[in-house]
């Protein structure tokens, strides 16, 4: 029988902070998607025209 793979068991505190970090990353990515979408709407066809 194969050995059980080594696994790390997270403490409740580590699980809580990992969950909070994951949510924060998701929120940031969501904001970034919305930002790019809105800027594309605002700039319209001139989205690639930028001042120096």
């Amino acid at each position: 029988m194969a050995d059980k793979p080594d696994r790390v068991t997270l403490t409740p505190e580590q699980q809580r902070s990992r969950r909070a970090r994951s949510i924060a990353i998701a929120v940031v990515l969501g904001v970034l998607v919305i930002l790019f979408y809105v800027v594309t709407l605002v700039k319209g066809p001139g989205v690639l025209n930028r001042p120096m």
Binding site: V8, L10, E13, Q14, S17, R18, A20, R21, A24, L32, L35, F36, V38, V39, V42, K43, R50, P51, M52
Partner: protein, 320 residues
Amino acid sequence: MTDISAIDHRKKVAPLAPAGLISEAGVGDYLALMKPRVMSLVVFTAFVGLMIAPGHIHPVLGFTALLCIAIGAGAAGALNMWYDADIDAIMTRTASRPIPSRRVTPGEAAGFGLTLGGFSVAVLAVLVSWLAAALLAFTIFFYVVIYTVWLKRRTPQNIVIGGAAGAFPPMIGWAAVTGGVSLESFLLFLIIFLWTPPHFWALSLLRTDDYARARVPMLPVVAGPRETRRQILLYSLVLAPVALAPWLLGSAGAIYGVTAVVAGVLMVALAWRVNKAPEGEGAARAARGLFSYSILYLFTLFAVLLIERGLPGLLGRVAM
């Protein structure tokens, strides 16, 4: 006063012991890495630069520019905390920061700072302005490499030269609107640049022991409190008239001019009091007073510029 020859500024003080493999850092710890109080001043001065610049920027793009500047400043703060973790652990003022208190590992902070820095510059370049992005990239580079890595542990002029990093944000805001830099935006830079030494040295007078223990050659540690107080007065004497320049050159109105005169006289008066204060509690009180007032001084100058120059343009566009 400490013998500077006894300090080897090139060496970092002491390596931190490795932290745990599994992070328990919360979102608040990462926010703390971004130095939110410094960031608030950066955002405000950038906002003023953006608002008073001639021309128009769509509010969404203006918001994007400010967001990128804020994140870029946060990235610089995180990289600063990563490099300075050893001396932060020694100083009372900074010992509770996320890395010395073992809540965030140095590697996490470095990765966080590099990621934010790269993203903030790239987004600013792609969505707003190449020049603004280039200035933001240079600001981050200047704060992390020139100030933190090169100057901070080597020379008492560290915050004089390094202060340029904190002075760039209004120029970045200006560049986001106009796509260029100008004498007016350079004056905003100059005001913050000259404001930094008296502001920071007033704080360092109160933390001399902390800096000496961490072997950071701040001016009071190397040259002593008396010379520091003299330098504070000299810089204040230069700062006050330079702060009048936007009015004298016609880029700010009478309200700004009067405010700059009154606020400048008060700044010089408080610097004079610091210079003349005897040692002990009186000197500490004078330094604390100047430190607090210097924040109000800069905020007032930029707020008046914003009200006088930025708001009329904004109201005009809303009325159209």
